[in-house]
């Protein structure tokens, strides 16, 4: 019987082993001004195992670093992407939003086309676009998972960006505490990049 497991790589980038297949989520393997993981990147693109697919939730650079992922050895690995990824990357060879693939050499084009938006805030005003710890705990109470692993909390935009834009406290314990109150049946585990959790 095949194992189900999750390995944290960094931020929202994980390896998920399920049903005998291995998937990579939200690839992010590089940094640029104002976008830092705030924690180690446990695996490089060259260290990745054989993948059956890549799942990309949205087009922001910290979730959709196709420029770096383009060096992955299997250029035919399927990308399963949100529609916004295709919209943000005109000229990519994504054939359809639900079963997009990139062709050899073409994956360098999408990332620079991604809009210059922080994952935690829109560039104008102080609109919050990422759930805070309490909201994440409320969602946990609705989904009722056995296990929850927080991520995306270490992200930093640097000294000035954290003051002007993200306003994040970078503390996953707030989620753990909120989930204990709102979703007591869910076990919350905070794990370091590089850690593999078998279910």
């Amino acid at each position: 019987m095949s194992r189900t497991a999750v390995t944290r790589i960094t931020h929202s980038c994980h390896l998920i082993e399920i049903g005998g297949r291995t998937f990579l989520t939200d690839p992010w393997f590089s940094t640029r001004p104002g976008y830092y993981q705030g924690e180690p990147i446990a695996l490089s693109v060259a260290d990745l195992p054989r993948l059956d697919g890549v799942l990309i939730s949205h087009e922001h650079y910290d979730h959709c670093d196709l420029e770096t992922f383009a060096s992955y050895r299997d250029q035919s690995v399927p990308l399963f992407v949100a529609e916004t990824v295709v919209e943000a990357a005109p000229g990519t060879r994504c054939s359809s939003p639900n079963s997009a693939r990139f062709l050899s050499g073409s994956a360098t084009s999408p990332s620079p086309s991604c809009p210059p938006t922080a994952c935690t805030s829109a560039p104008q005003g102080n609109m919050q676009v990422v759930m805070d710890a309490d909201e994440a705990a409320e969602l946990t109470a609705i989904l009722k998972p056995e296990l929850a692993i927080p991520h995306h909390y270490a992200f930093t935009k640097g000294f000035l960006g954290d003051r002007l834009i993200t306003h994040s406290d970078k503390d996953p314990l707030h989620y753990q505490d909120a989930a204990r109150d709102l979703a007591p049946e869910t076990h919350v585990r905070i794990i370091e990049p590089g850690t593999r959790i078998e279910l």
């Binding site: 940094t31 640029r32 001004p33 104002g34 976008y35 830092y36 210059p116 560039p123 005003g125 930093t156 935009k157 640097g158 000294f159 000035l160 960006g161 954290d162 003051r163 002007l164 834009i165 306003h167």
Partner: protein, 268 residues
Amino acid sequence: MNTTAIHTVDLTGIGSVEVTVADYGSGQPFLLLHGGAGPQSVTGFAEQFAAAHDVRVLVPTHPGFGGTPRPEALNSIGGLAALYNALLSQFGLQDVTVIGNSIGGWITAEIALLKSPRVSGIVLIDAVGIEVPGHPVADFFSLTMDQVFQLSFHNPGPFRIDPATLPPAAQAIAAGNRAAISVYAGTAMADPTLVDRLGSLEIPTLVLWGSSDRIVDADYGRAYAAAIPMARFQLLPDTGHSPQLETPDQVIHAIWDSADTDFSAFAH
């Protein structure tokens, strides 16, 4: 406590460049770039900032200013940006905020456009470098020094000096500074291509502007902020073209406590 050292940087296309760098404090790193008024227009601020917070502030003297040598081939704002980008690599610094005043702000904008991951944020203080229709940069080279002081400060009194009364060595340095401004920035103090190029920046940016600045007015500053997608604009009251010199406390507050600022109040 601070130290000053001469660093040698090898720059592609220009060769070996010697640059004098004053180093204040320790902690969160800042690169602080002076304008045409020379390094002494920022060193007091650097000392005060490093005394108030756990910060390390590096203040280079642009080659040619302050009596320092300038290699012939180092003759543009882009060249200075490449120099300081290489210097930050040489120092091995991460999460650097670059602060620049006047021409130093222009250099800062060009550093941001090099998109080094070492530079995580920029602060432009009464920067020059862009062209804004109807809001020209005052023509420094056609002004008397007295006029420059008049346009530069909210209250010029304490800062005004009569160049004729300076000792010969200081006059030579002032003449060298003037020549360096002309080499790096030209007489226009602007690059017509800059404003469009700024549109590609994704870097967190704070634009601070002295409300009494008549070298480059506040609307010019608003246009600068508008050209940079992530920029926040803040007008500083009762201060002129060099707020870090005239009112250092409010500049330190504007940077350190920027999380508490409601920028919507300053945008219009």
